[in-house]
Symmetry: C2
Subunit: 440 residues, 2 copies
């Protein structure tokens, strides 16, 4: 049995990342509004022993032209921190990772909601700490313009310190509940944070006991210089976005190297690239499925996705020419870089690039259960990742196929658990429970 | 059968309002942290056909001296908007009312979370719109001092307009999901709010479809002049706090009169006083239970509760003298007024008043199922209320007794439903679904 084991998250945004997914035969077009259907999906993931259900978030409509937006099933979705508690109540073991922005939130609310989710789920919460780049979000929160990249990351770093400080408000043994003496908690085991920083001022303490996991698992997704550095300092899992194994290995070595330089054990961070998986009984069948799926993406959506990735309006480019030089903007840097490199690597025209991005242009594994397991093993053994955040091409069938065909193949190879061994998300990921920074 | 029917909410703060409840024989001292126990409580409420589970909230520790705080089981609790989705997943019909402050929240988050809860629960959400007076909360949200009473209510009124405007972002028929044409929604049926007011600037639209109920039910609890006026303008249910039937009738006539003056149908608002109910097989047994419960409240907690109600430090008063004159402060006005009137009405010393307040000093019904039903009928027929928010003295037994003994007596008299007739909280309360203000 191999010593290294895969960790698998399921990336649900809000149900499938693929723009054409809601039109695929057998799909549930209304799944984004249907708690019973999402419940069915997460219970299948739990049957497949996934580490976690991972939910992205947006604080505005996606900033794409309305002609594309009107074709997107991602246009509306549940708030992750409202959906995940409901999913906690209908599952037993699977981790629950919610995205929450540090740009347009108060740290007291964020600390409290994740602590509540961690208690309700008995230790299964994770926080995907992101900054918000969508300029439309700024206008939903009383700002005229969005925050610059550097400022967002500065606030994010301080926000992390405040939230983790609030989680440590209570020593693990602070709550006594001594019925006889009538003492509910020991005030000497309660810490007042009194944080006053350049961006945030928060007194504390938090009005909820320390989370079951000490801290919910800290997840991040940025791949910019600032994003990698904050991840090396603070993250316990990264949603990475390499396009190739070589990219993955470079990213893996870079972030784990930064950790070593900071004196942090590199094992304390699991790097999990997003991976779009299409399963067939033959490779040809899997490719045909993907082609069918991509054919359901309208060109209007495709060109809009390219515009989002690049941070510029791509509809003014020559569709049949090569991608022109794209200036850096305040938009998400990782998306721009990935699109430019994909076009270069495969020599794609603007139209071809748009069609790929309009479906899903990132890392994908399209093949048989065996070929997919081969690829995953190669990534794991080659130090390209510690597992993956799986994206299902269409729901529920793409998920059913993964759980019924790929998971058993990974289990046969000893690469993935046959059952949950622990109870918390930290148990699943092999992460220690953090000590309280204010109490022994 | 009487034409008027009682509406019953269950006020869970976070489990029992009575400070001594966690020490009562058979109580669950850890219920505030235990989702399985709270699940058991709400399932009992649903068995009793309650209209709603109602959860209070605090954005800081309660502002009481630490010697009292350390005896309070209310010191930590779940965030309501995280707990209620989990409870939605384990119930079918009961309404779910969460408190959320307009003082230290963004309206976009509030609109989105309640819309999500309403979709997840299939139309059972209610929003208890409050302002936050606790000065400690201000310091948890980057402010040096709390907002003045008038300013809080001005912001609350504008916040209501923004949240309800965001809920109406999507026409009820906006989401088409036409698989054939690939159109997910009709952009002509999406409204951009573009709100720019004195306190708030929010563009919209909301990134979630219109709630199942159109709007979640709007609940309020303020009894000040500003609180009554905003309730008359906007509320659909009020958590009222009269001490006597005469007080209740005055409040009822005042608020429903304000509605009539505004051209609002008074039937569109249900007035539900908080009511602490202790059930016995005889009146003497019920009184003995309450005396036992009150005896579990420590004097330190009692004097602290009095200080909170009055907004001043009551520990410096002569315990055995009468209550001295209390100046108005920026604290909650209703609590101060209630305490002063209770002391006057019953001629209580500071110590006696503190002991009553330390347990629960508001409206209470202590007796047999028959005597309690008599009292409730008197309130209903006398236009003192449209029902009650029941507070259970101790959990789970106080709740079990209410559901097993009082509810059947109310049903026998035709005052309360024998089963749910509708599916949504609006159905239970007899409230219409609001029309979308931007679309036919």
């Amino acid at each position: 049995m191999p010593t290294r084991q895969l960790h698998l998250g399921a990336f649900m945004r809000p149900v499938s990342i693929h723009t054409g997914a809601w039109r695929y035969p057998g799909a549930w077009p209304d799944a984004n509004f249907s708690f019973p259907k999402i419940k069915r999906l997460i219970q299948t993931l739990e049957r497949g022993k996934f580490d976690a259900f991972f939910m992205a978030d947006h604080l505005a409509l996606l900033n794409m032209p309305v002609e594309a937006l009107k074709r997107s099933h991602t246009v509306t979705s549940f708030d992750p921190l409202t959906l995940l508690p409901a999913l906690a109540a209908v599952t037993e073991r699977i981790g629950l990772i919610a995205t929450a922005s540090t740009t347009y939130n108060d740290p007291y609310h964020v600390a409290r909601k994740f602590a509540s989710l961690d208690h309700i789920s008995e230790g299964r919460a994770g926080w995907n700490l992101v900054t918000t780049a969508n300029p439309d979000a700024a206008m939903n929160f009383g700002h005229d313009a969005h925050m610059a990249h550097g400022e967002r990351y500065k606030r994010a770093r301080e926000f992390f310190d405040v939230v983790t400080g609030l989680w440590d408000s209570w020593a693990d043994d602070a709550v006594i509940r001594d019925v006889e003496s009538g003492i509910f908690f020991d005030p000497d085991r309660l810490h007042v944070l009194n944080h006053k920083g350049p961006e945030l001022s928060v007194r504390g303490p938090l009005n909820i006991a320390r989370p079951v996991q000490g801290w919910p698992v800290i997840v991040q997704a940025g791949s910019s210089e600032a994003g990698r550095q904050i991840a090396a300092e603070t993250a316990e899992a990264i949603f990475a976005a390499p396009g190739t194994l070589a990219d993955g290995q470079t990213f893996y070595a870079d972030v784990k190297g930064r950790m070593a330089a900071l004196g942090r054990d590199p094992e304390l961070l699991k790097i999990l690239p997003g991976c779009f998986v299409v399963v067939g009984d033959t490779v040809a069948e899997a490719r045909a499925k993907r082609a069918h799926l991509d054919s359901l993406v309208h060109y209007d959506s495709a060109i809009a996705s390219l515009s989002i990735s690049l941070g510029v309006d791509a509809s003014r480019f020559d569709p049949d020419g090569p991608l022109p030089p794209i200036p850096e903007t305040e938009q998400s840097k990782s998306g721009r870089e990935r699109a430019i490199r994909l076009a270069e690597r495969e020599g794609l025209t603007v139209r071809q690039l748009a069609q790929r991005l309009g479906g899903y242009a990132g890392l994908s594994m399209v093949g048989t259960p065996e070929s997919i397991a081969d690829e995953m093993e190669q990534w794991l053994e080659g130090r390209g990742s510690d597992g993956f955040n799986i994206m299902f091409p269409h729901l529920p069938t793409g998920l059913d196929e993964f759980v019924d065909k790929v998971v058993p193949e990974l289990q046969r190879r000893g690469l993935f658990r046959r059952d949950y061994e622990g109870r918390t998300l930290r148990d699943h990921l092999g992460l220690p429970r953090p000590k309280n920074q204010f109490f022994d």
